[in-house]
Every structure is written in structure tokens, then in C-alpha cells.
């Protein structure tokens, strides 16, 4: 589904990603871990097409298409979703209205009929129930005045409605208490399917107790220094990131 080859990314004048190689097959859940400043979120944002993240080298293929050649909205409509680390507050834009526009943009691309308000609400109510999210969130402005936990839940709610093929979760666990973390993890787990892949970017192993990954990659100084199964995350929890350098990986 996704092949990242030798991806190098620059933010302002600094090279943050220094050659990332990563293959995500359909149905797999990959965790990207690493200390602060290792480039985890940069990878997520580069995949989503954020204009502040300049790709200087490398290639990203999404279902055989050149992802880097697509605008952010084209990526979204093609089925790539990013749950933001810091969801943006947008005063005056109704959450349900926005989500309906986003869903219909995607449906239009797929050649499906646009949903009217009634059909859209049917879809939405069902997702809210699964996610145990209060429907008052629908009629508020997008993320405006939301608590940290509400913002992250809203991201998961958007993901559930948009049903992406590839979801990138950028530190969705940061700042969440254990109950909110469970809601987020349950939402992701409910969506796991053989047709859908996830890239879960996280600093802490804690989230991976709830969202059990198929693969774990450790990022350090802009490169993947180790890859393994779930046990790698447990090892990191025990020993910390110290020693997880490129040199350490070779040992």
C-alpha cells in the first residue's frame, strides 16, 4: 500500500529526515517510535503534504501512485488520513457541516452520490455510538474550545466517518488521560481491517498496549535505526531510547 524510499525532508533550513525506508502493506499496523526531535512527526506531516515540510529526496508510492506529487486534499480524497498532533481550532465552521463537506468531497472522487443531511446524520450517529462520543460535539465549531481529549477524539471521529485506507496518527496519545486514551484506542481497533493500514506515531509505549502493532520502528536522528515486532516496544519501555542509535542498531 505504501512504500517510502530514501525519504529526506527539510523543515526551514534543517534536514530532519535523512533517508527513511518503510513499507506498509494493506492491513498492517506500524508503530513509529522515537525520542523527541527524532523526526516522527515530520514523517507524518510529510506524508500528509504539509507545505512547511519540503521533500528534498526520495519517493513515496501510495498504491503505486506518486504520493508526493499530490496536493494535501488529493491525498485525503485518495484515502490517506492524518490525525493531527495539534488539531486546529476553526471558529465559525460547524464540525458536522465541515465533516459532511469532507465526506462528500471523497465520495464525489469515488464516483458515489453525495450524501444529503439526513443520510449523513445516519452515518454520523452510528459512528458516534461506536466511539462513545457525545453528539454535542457535532454542532460546535471545529475544535474550538475543545479540551485536549475532545480534540483527539474528534480526530478519531473524523477518521471513522471518512474511512481512510491509510491512517496516520500523529502522537494522538499525547496529553490524554487513561480514559481518553482508551476511547481513542477503541476507535482505532474498531476500524482495523484487512483493507486498512495504520501508521501510529508515538513517543510512549503505553498506547501500544491498547493498539497492538504488527511492526515497530525506532526513529533516531532522522533515520529508522531498528525495526521489529511488538516486543521491540516493550524493550524500549524497559530500557528507554538511550543507546538506540544507528551505531547501537548495528551491534
Amino acid at each position: 500500500m505504501l512504500q517510502v524510499k530514501n525519504l529526506k525532508v527539510r523543515v526551514e533550513d534543517r534536514e530532519i529526515l535523512k533517508g527513511i525506508d518503510l513499507t506498509v502493506n494493506t492491513g498492517e499496523v506500524h508503530a513509529i517510535m522515537g525520542p523527541n526531535g527524532s523526526g516522527k512527526s515530520t514523517l507524518a506531516r510529510a506524508l500528509s503534504g504539509h507545505p512547511g515540510y519540503e521533500v528534498t529526496e526520495g519517493e513515496v508510492l501510495y498504491n503505486g501512485q506518486d504520493l508526493l506529487d499530490m496536493d494535501p486534499d488529493e491525498r485525503a480524497r485518495a484515502g490517506v488520513f492524518m490525525a493531527f498532533q495539534y488539531p486546529v481550532e476553526i471558529p465559525g465552521v460547524n464540525n458536522a457541516y465541515f465533516l459532511k463537506a469532507a465526506l462528500n468531497a471523497k465520495r464525489k472522487q469515488q464516483g458515489l452520490d453525495e450524501l444529503d443531511a439526513i443520510d449523513f446524520m445516519k452515518v454520523v450517529k452510528e459512528k458516534l455510538k461506536v466511539l462513545h462520543i457525545d453528539d454535542s460535539m457535532l454542532q460546535r465549531s471545529v475544535n474550538e474550545g475543545f479540551s485536549g481529549g475532545e480534540k483527539k477524539r474528534n480526530e478519531i471521529f473524523h477518521m471513522a466517518v471518512l474511512e481512510p485506507a491509510l491512517a496516520v496518527l500523529d502522537e494522538t496519545d499525547s496529553g490524554l488521560d487513561i480514559d481518553a486514551l482508551r476511547v481513542v484506542a477503541d476507535g482505532v481497533n474498531a476500524m482495523r481491517s484487512p483493507d486498512r493500514s495504520f501508521i501510529v506515531v508515538t513517543h510512549y509505549q503505553r498506547l501500544l498496549n491498547y493498539i497492538v502493532p504488527d511492526f515497530v520502528h525506532v526513529l533516531s536522528d532522522g533515520k529508522i535505526v531498528r525495526s521489529g515486532g511488538r516486543e521491540l516496544a516493550l524493550e524500549l519501555e524497559e530500557k528507554g531510547y538511550a543507546g538506540q542509535t544507528a551505531a547501537g542498531a548495528r551491534r
Partner: protein
């Protein structure tokens, strides 16, 4: 002129006084602080003749904005046009008078209020309007009357191919504890040139609640100057909502005097300009008495080489303790060539007051744009959504549903046109 002969002495007197005042001060120039950024030479130089009242397109223009179920009062080139008005929904407690007939018949309250709500010395164009005082409409709301029927004044200006000047005039007197919603639409034939110099005076009696909406959708080649001045008595509530999409040069002076204790007012507006058009808004809030509150939000969207001026004056007089005044001015500049001069002007003489102001001028929030795009909206769709949200905060204040729909449609059509031309 026949009308001049008929006018009672007090009208002639006010007219002459204003005429003398205007002769003294003349048209303002950019050397005057209040007009520093707004050069009205195109108006002063053009010397458009006074319109004679007939205008072939007036009836279709009125019909185009007529609100279902409302009282419709048409003013064509400054003259009250009974034939184009619709008073069939006249509720109990409302009295309407054409100013000319009202003055001749000695309508109660007219002499007391007409020309008394504002100071002609401070407003040269209002003096010019008053020097031509001849006709217009007066709306009286009886004490205690709660009027559900919207009252819609449609102000039409134009001269069937000839560029003309008009001086429309409106007076609203809301008695104690009455309630009413009044809208005024300014309209002319698309792409026609004219000069509309309007004055509206509003008296909000003790405990009365009055909303006053203006929709300035003049021709984009017209010149539009308006003075809207209100007095609010004790515990009265006045809300002014101004929407503007038209005119080559707009100058709005909106002044509200809080003249009794516990009065409250809202002064909101949103405007849109493109091309080389100019939108100038001067607001003035006079907190003269204690325990009054005021809320002000003005927003602008500017594309192309459009210019805007916002001057927000708040005076808190020495007796106006416990004043609570809040002013916000925001503008979005959609192109590098668009400009705004924003100037809050606070003059506070009382010591126990809460007075805040803030201005934010900028582009669309790129992080918000990216967030919307990352969910699948195109850049154009994301921009439209943010612009609608920006204007929406003010549009939401429209409490007449049919009027809100009409103004929103016009505003967003104008937005699509102006922004598309820029993009």
C-alpha cells in the same frame, strides 16, 4: 420650488442652518483628520445634479429586495414613494409618515426629533443632506408596542442613464418600552454612477429595544455616504448591524449616544470590497451615563487593490462610571495590494470603567487552510469555508430570517465574484 413653499418654518430654518454650515465647511479634504484616508474629490468634483424623483428602474429594484410579510417603505431618490411601498401589513402601534406630508400636517414628534439626533457641525455630509431636507420617511413606534412585523426601508437611487445625487432621510422614534426591527437597503442599478448621501436618525426610548440593519449593495460605481445616528435612553437596547458589498467609495459614520443609565448597544458590521474600491467606516460610541454596555465587532474582507478605513471612537464621559465597552476590528487581506487603516480611538474620562479594544489584520490562517485540505477540501473550498465563517459571526446577528437569507445570498455571491476575480 413648490415643496419649499409648503414646508413649515421649522423645516426651512433647519435647512437654512445646515446650508450655512455646509457653505462654511464645504466638502472635507484629506487634510482633515477624519478624512485622511478617504479622498472624496470624485464626489465633490462631479457635481451630479439633484435627482428629480423619477427613476424608471425603481420599481423593479424595490421588487427585487422586497421582504415577504414586511412593511416596505420605498424611498426613490430621496422621495418617499407611496406607490412602490407596501403598508398592507401595518401593525397596530406603528405610524408611518412621508416626511414632506408629515411636516406639512404637523405630525407629532417630527419637529422635536428631525435633525436633532446628530450634530451637523461634526458631519459635513449630514449638513449637506439636511440642507436639502425635503422628503423621506418617519417611523414612529408607540410606547409599549412590540412590533413583530419587520419594517423595511428600501432606498433606491439612480437617474435612468444620468448620474444624479440624492439625499434620502429616515427618522425612527421608538417610544418607551417598545420593540421593533428595522432594515434599510441601499440599492441602485448595477454599474450605474450616482451619489447617495443618506442620513438616518434613531431615537430609542426608555427601555425600548430596536434593531437597525443596513444592507449597502449600491452599484460598484456609485458613491455612498451614510450617517446613521442613534440616541438610546435609559435601559434602552439598540443594535446596529451593517453589511456592505457595494459602492466605489463608501463612507459610513455610525454614531450611538448612550444617553440614559443602563443602556446597551451593539454595533456590528461586515464589509467586502475588491478592485480599487474604498470602504470607510467611522464608528462613534458616546458613553454619557453610568452602567451602560457596548459591544462592537467590525470585519472586513478585502481583495484586489481595495482599501478600507476603520476608525472606532469610544468616548467615556466623566459621569459614565461602570461603563463596559468592547471593540474588535478584524480584516482579511486576500491580496498583497489590499490595505486597511485601522484606528481605535478611546477617550476615557471616567475612572471605574472596563474598556477593551483589539484589532487583527491578516491573511487567512494557513494552518486552518491545511487542516481543511488535509480532510479532502480543495484549496478554494477551504478558503470559502473560512471566509464564510469569518463573515458568519456578524451575519448571525440578523434576526429577520428572510432578510438574513437575502443579505447572506448577496454577500456570498459578491464574495465569490470578488475573490474569483482576485484569485
Amino acid at each position: 420650488m413648490e415643496t419649499l413653499v409648503q414646508a413649515p418654518a421649522w423645516v426651512k430654518e433647519r435647512r437654512e442652518q445646515a446650508s450655512r454650515r455646509f457653505a462654511e465647511v464645504g466638502f472635507p479634504t484629506t487634510r482633515q483628520e477624519d478624512w485622511r484616508f478617504t479622498n472624496i474629490a470624485p464626489i465633490a468634483d462631479a457635481k451630479f445634479p439633484l435627482a428629480n424623483g423619477t427613476f424608471g428602474q425603481a420599481s423593479s429594484l424595490v421588487a427585487g429586495v422586497k421582504l415577504p410579510g414586511a412593511l416596505t417603505l420605498a424611498i426613490v431618490n430621496g422621495q418617499f414613494a407611496a406607490g412602490l411601498s407596501d403598508l398592507s401589513a401595518m401593525p397596530k402601534g406603528v405610524r408611518i409618515a412621508g416626511l414632506r406630508d408629515g411636516a406639512r400636517d404637523g405630525a407629532d414628534g417630527l419637529e422635536r426629533h428631525l435633525g436633532k439626533v446628530f450634530n451637523i457641525d461634526a458631519h459635513p455630509f449630514a449638513a449637506l443632506n439636511t440642507s436639502h431636507l425635503d422628503d423621506g420617511v418617519a417611523i414612529f413606534i408607540a410606547a409599549g408596542a412590540v412590533i413583530e412585523t419587520p419594517i423595511h426601508v428600501v432606498t433606491v437611487t439612480g437617474g435612468d442613464g444620468q448620474a444624479v445625487t440624492a439625499h434620502p432621510r429616515v427618522l425612527v422614534v421608538a417610544g418607551a418600552n417598545s420593540q421593533a426591527r428595522i432594515a434599510q437597503t441601499f440599492i441602485g442599478a448595477a454599474d450605474s454612477v450616482y451619489f447617495n448621501n443618506a442620513v438616518a436618525e434613531v431615537v430609542v426610548g426608555e427601555g425600548a429595544i430596536v434593531d437597525y440593519y443596513t444592507d449597502q449593495r449600491e452599484s460598484e460605481r456609485a458613491f455612498h455616504i451614510a450617517n446613521i445616528q442613534a440616541h438610546v435612553e435609559a435601559k434602552g437596547v439598540f443594535a446596529s448591524h451593517a453589511f456592505a458589498t457595494g459602492a466605489k467609495i463608501q463612507r459610513h459614520d455610525i454614531g450611538i449616544g448612550l444617553k440614559g443609565e443602563g443602556a446597551d448597544c451593539t454595533m456590528n458590521g461586515v464589509y467586502l470590497a475588491d478592485g480599487e474600491r474604498l470602504m470607510d467606516t467611522h464608528t462613534s460610541l458616546d458613553h454619557a451615563m453610568p452602567h451602560c454596555t457596548s459591544h462592537e465587532i467590525y470585519k472586513g474582507i478585502l481583495a484586489g487593490k481595495a482599501k478600507a478605513v476603520f476608525n472606532g471612537r469610544i468616548i467615556v464621559r466623566i459621569d459614565a462610571q461602570k461603563t463596559d465597552a468592547k471593540q474588535t476590528n478584524r480584516a482579511l487581506l486576500l491580496s498583497d495590494d489590499a490595505t486597511i487603516n485601522s484606528n481605535p480611538q478611546l477617550e476615557i474620562f471616567a475612572d471605574d470603567v472596563k474598556c477593551t479594544h483589539g484589532a487583527a489584520i491578516g491573511q487567512l490562517d494557513e494552518e486552518a487552510m491545511f487542516y481543511l485540505q488535509a480532510r479532502g477540501l480543495t484549496r478554494a473550498e477551504a478558503r470559502d469555508m473560512l471566509l464564510h465563517a469569518f463573515a458568519g459571526e456578524v451575519l448571525e446577528g440578523l434576526k429577520i430570517p428572510a432578510l438574513r437569507e437575502q443579505i447572506e445570498t448577496n454577500f456570498f455571491n459578491a464574495l465569490a465574484r470578488d475573490v474569483a476575480l482576485t484569485a
